[in-house]
């Protein structure tokens, strides 16, 4: 069966959404989502690493023996992470400080190794590229969504550079949203809401089928 490259790209947004459907890569999802800007840069770094790793794993899939594939994956993942780390340190030192250990920790982000193992190791290069872009973009959107909610509720406004919306908070901000408990509860409730929506859609399609 020939898989369409387009499908491999789009499935990352809903069907195989890394955070909500596959439930992988949780730690950075919660740790960096205290502001939208952090979430965006983290997402961008993950896209780069994911695409790089997917493409190279896919290129080398025919010459890599099965037994040593994990060490090979780890090296192929660690290389782009070091690139991201050095580039970020040089051009975005402030962001590098904020994201802290979570930049090198992209190496052990389960999303990347899971995609290498489950997808790129078996699929042609172009599909792997699309898969990396799609899953990475889906992940970035999740980060922006979660960080948007947390930043808005936690500080009363969303700050991107010098742009603030709304200009003055119109309610008393709940600082707990920025702390770890707030993050856990926020993500848990988001998942529950998504479950409700999916269940409703399923019921609808079933009703139509009858």
């Amino acid at each position: 069966m020939k898989r369409s490259v387009f499908y491999d790209f789009t499935k990352g947004f809903i069907e195989e959404n890394p955070t909500f459907r596959l439930v992988i890569g949780m730690c950075p999802t919660l740790a960096v989502t205290t502001s939208v800007v952090n979430g965006f840069w983290m997402g961008l770094s993950v896209i780069f690493v994911l695409v790089f790793a997917n493409v190279f794993v896919s290129l080398l899939r025919k010459v890599t023996p099965d037994e040593i594939r994990l060490p090979v994956f780890v090296i192929l993942i660690a290389t782009p992470v070091v690139i991201v780390e050095l580039v970020m340190k040089a051009y975005l030192p402030a962001m590098y400080e904020i994201l802290g250990i979570f930049v090198p920790l992209i190496v052990v982000n389960c999303i990347i190794i899971a995609r290498a193992e489950a997808f790129a190791f078996k699929q042609p290069v172009l599909n792997s590229l699309a898969d990396g872009l799609g899953i990475g973009a889906g992940y970035t959107l999740n980060l922006i969504l979660i960080s948007g909610i947390r930043e808005f509720l936690g500080t009363g406004q969303i700050t991107i550079g010098s742009f603030r919306f709304p200009a003055t908070p119109f309610f008393e901000p709940a600082a707990v949203m920025l702390t770890p408990p707030g993050g856990f509860i926020c993500l848990g409730l988001l998942m529950a809401i998504l479950n409700v929506l999916l269940a409703r859609r399923e019921r609808k399609t079933k009703a139509q089928a009858v």
């Binding site: 060490p71 190496v107 052990v108 770890p180 409730l189």
Partner: protein, 195 residues
């Protein structure tokens, strides 16, 4: 004094799961039963303590003097991967039942971000070899405490009537959030004890 600070800090105040968001995947994945949680804890304590010790030796005597700081991530992950392999071989022989129960999560310790995380934190705080090892041990103990409590909670879910939409991960995250709220209470422990 610093030793007490590191141990208390690692176990209670800066608990990896609740305060630093490290090691969440196995925390949610392996906590369905108390027994597997205990086995995983043992493996993590061993790997994390040893990895902290070895990586700090590597950092202080090899990477830092030669100015190879940019190889840190790759070097560390290789050290951790080989330790995990060691634990896996040992468990396969010594405790095959546990080995089966842990399943995929055993090799996944390699990608347990708490392990790489603690070694990176050691570098950030510029701890020496002894302090790093202690920090690794304390962090692992804190992680184990968290997963054992959580497994206990999850075992009780079986007796409860849970709304369908909350089943599984959503409820796991919300209850982790509530536990983390409780651990937030330890934040001022130091100020209370040492002042």
């Amino acid at each position: 004094m610093e030793i007490i600070a590191i141990i208390l800090g690692g176990v209670l105040i800066n608990n990896f799961v609740f305060m630093q968001y490290l090691g969440l995947c196995p925390f949610v994945g392996v906590s369905r039963q108390l027994e597997t949680a205990l086995g995983m804890s043992g493996a993590v304590i061993f790997v994390m303590t040893m990895a902290s010790a070895v990586t700090s030796v590597l950092e202080i005597y090899v990477l830092a003097p030669l100015g190879l700081g940019y190889l840190r991530t790759i070097a560390y992950i290789l050290v951790i991967a080989s330790f995990v392999q060691l634990v896996e071989l040992f468990m396969k022989k010594a405790a095959p039942g546990l080995y089966k129960a842990l399943g995929i999560y055993l090799p996944l310790i390699t990608t347990n971000c708490a392990v790489l995380g603690v070694t990176m934190l050691n570098v950030r705080h510029s701890y020496g070899v002894l302090m790093s090892t202690l920090n690794g041990l304390a962090g692992a103990l804190g992680w184990s405490l968290a997963i054992i409590i959580f497994a206990g909670i999850r075992e009780r879910w079986r007796l409860m009537d849970i709304p369908k939409t909350l089943e599984g991960f959503p409820l796991a995250l919300v209850s982790t959030g509530l536990m983390s709220l409780a651990f937030l209470g330890f934040q001022n422990l130091f100020k209370a004890v040492f002042r």
